[in-house]
Amino acid sequence: MRINSVVCIKQVPDTTQVRIDPDSGSLIRQGIPSVINPYDLYALEAALKVRDSHGGTITALSMGPPQADEALRKVLGYGIDRAVLLSDRAFAGADTLATTYTLSAAIRKIAGELIAAGGAGVDMVFCGKQSIDGDTGQVGPGLARRLDLSQVTYVCSLLEVAAETRTVRAWRQREDGRELLEARLPVAVTITEACNPIRYAALPDLLRAAKAPVEVWSAADLEVEPDRLGLKGSPTRVSKVFAPPARERGETLSGPDRPPNEIAAALFDKLAERGLTIGGSRG
């Protein structure tokens, strides 16, 4: 069975170059070069791998100002089938609620076109685990909810897509470990940097991408209610922006003036004080 995927791509300011305005606490974005959200490229690679083994199509989808077509043009170079940019003044200022509303309308339209072309609609939606400028991690789950997809977030290893049973199995990263999940298609997955990094694009794909169009859809191209778009459709208000306090450094027990066994004993005591030792006792 062929798997049709949509990969969500966000163009973000290169946060390694962003500075924070000390007075307002907000990001100084002016003059900062734009890059593709790095986690989205892990998501794209995961989608490419699924297509490698199952066939099907990949559509890259982005929402942003007209210049975000640069990100999609780059993504086209990896040999995907189609790139769609949602760009309209009405989309501007969207929080994750309005963003998922708009993206889900576009994914429905993409699915409709795939079905009209004799396909099975969209089977998988791939997102990066979060964007490096917003850091919310809400868009993937939001899309799953709005499109009624099953979801696996924070995927650190996408094991397999079983076409016959229409399921996927994936390892999911948790704070305290990993869990193996099985989910039914259609599914939304969000991908972490523990997955494979993006491949080195082949020259024929780059040549094709140099001439491939980026399709631009406005609000009028989607079945949407204007009040639910952009700033108007965004209830989130930023009450305060602040730089997080620097994390305290951990305590270091080190030599060379102390012999290793003494250091080990001191470490044991500290762990015991916190009740972190299991059985046994010192000495």
Partner: protein, 449 residues
């Protein structure tokens, strides 16, 4: 649902499969390569331009001027659309010592109106714009792709090999516009070896941020206008070279360029020359309070006419810095690159009519260049770099001497004017024996005329 639009930016919007064999492949998306690509694409040739940087311009650190008229020959009226910093209305030349400077300044309102004379630009933005024009004209623009070697067939170049999967491309002709380190020109057997230190200058540059209106106040400029200052003398620690200051929109480019082998032969480090230059009092005043934005360094092939590689072979042409096309005396490189790239493209177009791309057919490129200002200018100054490196004392001695004469002349003290003139003459002769003065001037006239 109404019809959705398709973004043409970055392509001509026509979905066309890549040909199995291109009409031409251009290696390098700098001014030479982009002029060649744009010209060929505009004439309907299937052309691919391969650039190793993230985008065209991303590897370019040129801190100088682009000259309006040569650029307009390739991209007419570019000043209406291209991202430019300031149009330059004033060119200054300073002879500087450690604490003083003699300044010659030329300013013209002509330079402030179309077609202008020159502009300061950020090449990273300007070249990106040029590459968009080439893409709109129909070229296949392929960034982030390094050409590793040439493809050969029966002793002639028939394409390039990149490091990418499926990375071979075939073409009737390959235009090498790879920049100063001309690996491919060497591989094509056109350059004898890697560039030699005695033919190279090293430029070190900083970009310093200053608000727009403060630049205009400080440099005494009309709104939007710019200044270009070249400085000879103590700025380069007595080494053959010059310092430069260019005003951008809200930054200033400050740098020094020195001949590489004199730098290697000295105990100086390139960055320390720049630090020194910035401490020169007249320079320091102009850049005071401006924060560091960028630091970069690049080689410039200043060997000139005598050190140029062969410019053509079977299935291959060389243009721009890769061909050593830099006029060090007038600080011109980008416009020679643009013109040579355009002529390489015109050569390919005329060879296409005959369907021949061997060296004999492509040789008309050389003739075209000889008849243009590109090789006329380079030939005129063919001894310039030799003269500069064999007359290193000029960069320290004469500015120092002129400054001390000026200082004596302008200092009003208790000496009579007649005594002062005698003192000046004595001072002059003590610094420069008349015979060596005549020799220097004769050689300068011979080599730079």
């Amino acid at each position: 649902m109404n019809g959705s639009q398709v973004h043409p930016a970055g392509g001509d919007g026509k979905r066309r499969p890549a040909p199995s064999r291109f009409g031409a492949i251009v290696v390098g998306g700098g001014p030479a390569g982009l002029a060649a690509t744009y010209t060929l694409a505009g004439a309907g040739v299937d052309v691919a331009c391969l650039e190793r940087g993230d985008w065209c311009g991303s590897k370019n650190m040129m801190g100088g001027l682009i000259f309006s008229q040569p650029t307009a020959k390739v991209f007419p009226n570019f000043w209406h659309e291209a991202p430019l910093e300031r149009h330059v209305t004033r060119r200054d030349m300073w002879l500087a010592t450690g604490d003083s400077a003699m300044k010659v300044s030329f300013e013209s309102t002509d330079f402030g109106a179309e077609p202008y004379n020159s502009f300061t630009v950020y090449r990273s933005r300007f070249d990106k714009w040029l590459s968009r024009r080439a893409a709109e004209a129909g070229a296949w623009m392929i960034p982030e792709t390094l050409v590793e070697s040439l493809l050969w067939e029966d002793g002639r170049v028939v394409g390039v090999r990149t490091g990418r999967p499926g990375g071979d491309l075939e073409a009737d002709v390959v235009i090498i516009a790879e920049g100063v380190n001309h690996f491919l020109a060497e591989a094509a057997g056109l350059a004898a070896g890697p560039p030699k230190a005695e033919t190279m200058a090293l430029a070190v540059k900083e970009v310093l941020a200053l608000p727009r209106d403060r630049i205009e106040d400080r440099f005494d400029l009309d709104r939007g206008a710019g200044a270009a200052i070249e400085i000879i003398g103590e700025t380069t620690g007595g080494l053959p070279g010059t310092g430069f200051i260019y005003t951008n929109r809200d930054t200033i480019s400050v740098g020094v360029g020195v001949l590489l082998d004199s730098l290697v032969g000295s105990t100086r480090e390139a960055y320390s020359l720049l630090d020194n230059f910035k401490q020169q009092p007249q320079v320091r005043r102009l850049i005071q309070g401006a924060g560091l934005r960028e630091y970069s360094a690049h080689l410039i092939p200043e060997g000139g006419y005598r050190y140029m590689p062969r410019l053509f072979g079977d299935g291959v042409l060389v243009a721009g810095d890769a061909a050593g096309m830099v006029n060090a005396i007038n600080s011109e490189g980008a416009n020679l690159a643009l013109l040579s790239g355009q002529m390489a493209a015109q050569t390919v177009l005329s060879c296409r009519e005959e369907g021949r791309f061997d060296a004999a057919a492509l040789g008309r490129y050389r003739t075209m260049l000889e008849n243009s200002l590109v090789l006329k200018d380079l030939r005129k100054y063919s001894s310039a770099t030799n003269f500069l490196s064999s007359h290193q004392h000029l960069f320290g001695l004469y500015p120092e001497l002129l400054a001390s004469l000026a200082r004596e002349f302008l200092t009003v003290d208790n000496m009579s004017k007649a005594d002062k003139e005698r003192l000046l003459a004595r001072l002059f002769r003590s610094q420069v024996p008349v015979r060596s003065l005549i020799k220097d001037f004769y050689q300068a006239w011979r080599d730079l005329k």
